[in-house]
């Protein structure tokens, strides 16, 4: 096995390098003013781009706050809907189950612009456009398929026996949920949450159409720079973005770990 182990390590670490190294070069870009061909390092460095992004009147803080708030709310709403839905799909046989399962995956299949435009009208009617809630709802549409998929698998694997056992032992609904169901599905719950957080955090068009520009998020700020070729500014936002996501994930995991004192690996 050791030879295989060394080969595995070689493959894995080269993949890892391919994942991480480009992000480091992105870090270099954040301070690169000029980098003429064929130099391997920038010729002129500048803090200007970083200063621009973090200037107090650039709404970066506001956007960051919104991004995190929306991602957290979206994750909560997603789990709130996905857990009962996945449980139903995973444990109970009912007519039309296959269809429902298929429908749950739909938003992944349909181009997001189509879904968003469809929902835009109803959102306007409901007066949800331009509100955090509206944005959270539209994000949830796109996070739900991932969450339902992951959790359905988990419930299918677990079956119902632990909950039934707990109920027979006289546990209340709430106790079953807190002490049995949630700890059991925790790894799945974590990956569903992680996925939801990331998907929500990276939404651009949907935030635009439903948020109507009232709700600024980080992607809204950096995508224009990306499109106009100001890649240094975009790179600064990208790093901010990546660090925030990682930070949020680490905090969530830490909190959950502390709460349940177990050792689940991060598994998005």
């Amino acid at each position: 096995m050791t030879k295989g182990g060394r080969l595995s390590a070689l493959i894995f670490y080269s993949f890892l390098a391919a994942s991480v190294a480009p992000l480091l070069s992105l870090l270099v870009l954040t301070v690169t003013a000029a980098w003429p061909y064929p130099r391997l390092s920038p010729s002129v460095l500048s803090w200007r781009y970083i200063a621009t992004v973090f200037a107090p009147n650039r709404q970066t803080a506001e956007a960051l706050g919104n991004s995190v708030l929306i991602a957290v709310l979206t994750t909560l709403l997603t789990l709130l809907i996905a857990v009962p839905a996945a449980k139903a799909l995973g444990l109970y046989r009912f007519r039309g189950r296959a269809t429902v399962k298929l429908l749950a995956l739909m938003p992944l299949m349909v181009p997001s612009i189509t879904v968003t435009m469809g929902m835009h009208f109803s959102m306007i009617r409901l007066g949800l456009t331009g509100s955090i809630l509206g944005v959270v709802i539209i994000h949830t549409v796109f996070t739900l398929p991932y969450a339902i998929r992951v959790l359905t698998n988990v419930f299918e694997l677990l079956g119902e026996r632990h909950e039934v056992q707990a109920k027979m032992l006289g546990a209340s609904q709430l106790m079953v949920l807190r002490n049995v169901t949630i700890p059991l599905i925790m790894p799945g719950l974590l990956s569903a949450a992680t996925m939801s957080f990331i998907v929500s955090f990276t939404q651009y068009i949907t935030t635009f159409l439903i948020g109507g520009g009232r709700i600024l998020t980080i992607p809204l700020l950096f995508v224009p720079h990306l499109q106009s070729g100001e890649i240094q500014v975009a790179a600064v936002y990208s790093w901010l973005f990546i660090m925030t996501t990682l930070g949020a994930l680490a905090i969530t995991q830490g909190a959950v770990k502390k709460f349940y004192k177990s050792t689940y690996l991060l598994q998005p």
Partner: protein, 406 residues
């Protein structure tokens, strides 16, 4: 489970009814002084392209503080592309929603045409803006027409753009003064020239500029906005572009998809020229060390296409008084002067120089426009008008079919 969903939707309705206590759309005050008075203490939202740090900085660092100081109006800038803005407005119009989010938009050309056609704009309002009536020449063609579309007071000019070319005088001895010279130069330096593929805004303007060069402005301006008719007229120009193609970058098999890519290729020395719709861009790039200091701006001897960008008020602007205040402020001498400064934006002013006081004129003319650029009067002298917005889309389509996919 049903009950869970029901609960969630109930919760949503409660939260949302709280969330949507929004101002109703207003009608602007008739009298401008009243409008300014009414605007005090309000927040005005400006929606426009947010991809340029320089432009953003002009709005955030110069316009916003002075607007607040002079008129007590808070500016909120939202970076959003015009096609998305129009999408949003169209959807709101179709849904019958009168309470919008946007007070002022940045618009021109085909988008102005679309917005006007669809009734997405509020107005006419321009005559009610004091600086518009005082400082802007009502007879100027870009006050009356935007890409050949009659404006009729539905938008007010914000700045003037013009297609310019840039090249490094250290690497290119002579700059092409015409399409033919460009062809000769490309032949001599194969793979060193290219242009962004339309529908990129700048690339599209370049193609039209070539059409002007080959068949003349009048020919294309006078033809009907019909695909076949336009093809008949511009065929020599398309032929010219096809003749040029083998000497372009990658032998014309592909084109940079946008002007940003072209700029980058130029900055990294991959190609010999770049182009821009911001005529003073070379000065900015030199100042930021992004291109060599020997970079120079030039245009064709017959002139380059120029256009004007405008601001307008959406039909459902919630704060039309504040919108008028902002537009008034944007067209002030102070703001236009600051805008011209390459350290801020480097955008050409729209003011009529003859209407300015001697003092205002000297302020405006005293602005340092930096190195490597053409003087403003030369730019204005070599400024060619735009064709009708509808023809732009047809020309882009023809370019794609007859040049790109040929």
């Amino acid at each position: 489970m049903k009950r869970v969903f029901l609960g969630i939707s109930l919760l949503m309705i409660v939260v949302l009814s709280a969330a949507c206590a929004r101002p109703t759309a207003t009608v602007a005050s008739d009298n401008f002084a009243d409008a300014l008075q009414a605007a005090r203490g309000k927040t005005v939202t400006f929606y426009g392209w947010g991809g340029s740090s320089a432009v953003n900085s002009w709005f955030d660092d110069i316009v916003a503080p002075s607007l607040l100081a002079e008129y007590g109006v808070t500016l909120r800038r939202v970076p959003m592309n015009i096609d998305q803005i129009l999408n949003k407005l169209t959807a709101e119009k179709q849904a019958g929603d009168v309470k919008g989010d946007i007070d002022v938009i940045w618009i021109n050309g085909e988008n102005f045409y679309t917005a006007k056609q669809q009734g997405l704009l509020y107005g006419p309002f321009a005559d009610r803006v004091e600086n518009f009536t005082r400082l802007i020449d009502p007879a100027a063609s870009d006050t009356k027409y935007d890409f050949g579309v009659a404006i009729g007071g539905m938008s007010a000019p914000l700045g003037r753009a013009q297609l310019v070319f840039m090249a490094d005088s250290a690497r290119l001895a002579t700059f092409p003064a015409s399409a033919e010279e460009l062809l000769a130069l490309a032949r001599a330096n194969p793979g060193r020239f290219t242009y962004p593929a339309p529908p990129d805004f700048t690339g599209s303007a370049f193609v039209r500029n070539i059409i002007y060069e080959i068949v003349g402005f009048d020919a294309i301006n006078n033809v009907a906005a019909d695909k076949d008719a336009i093809y008949d007229i511009i065929k020599p120009a398309l032929d010219f572009l096809n003749e040029l193609e083998p000497y372009l970058w990658e032998a014309g098999r592909t084109y940079p998809p946008d002007v940003a890519s072209l700029d980058r290729m130029f900055a990294e020395g991959q190609i010999l020229w770049a182009m821009s719709y911001t005529p003073l861009q070379a000065a900015q790039l030199i100042a930021k060390n992004e291109v060599p200091a020997t970079t120079q701006t030039f245009v064709f001897a017959e002139g380059n296409i120029g256009n004007t960008h405008y601001v307008a008020i959406p039909f459902n602007s919630p704060n039309k008084d504040a919108a008028l205040a902002l537009i008034h402020h944007l067209t002030s001498v102070a703001m236009q002067t600051a805008k011209l400064d390459v350290n801020n934006w480097g955008d050409l002013p729209v003011l009529d120089i003859n209407r300015l006081s001697a003092e205002e004129r000297s302020v405006l003319q005293g602005v340092d426009i930096g190195r490597g650029v053409l003087p403003i009067d030369e730019l204005l002298r070599r400024r060619l008008p735009e064709v009708h917005a509808r023809k732009v889309a047809i020309i882009e389509e023809l370019w794609r079919e007859r040049v790109l996919l040929r």
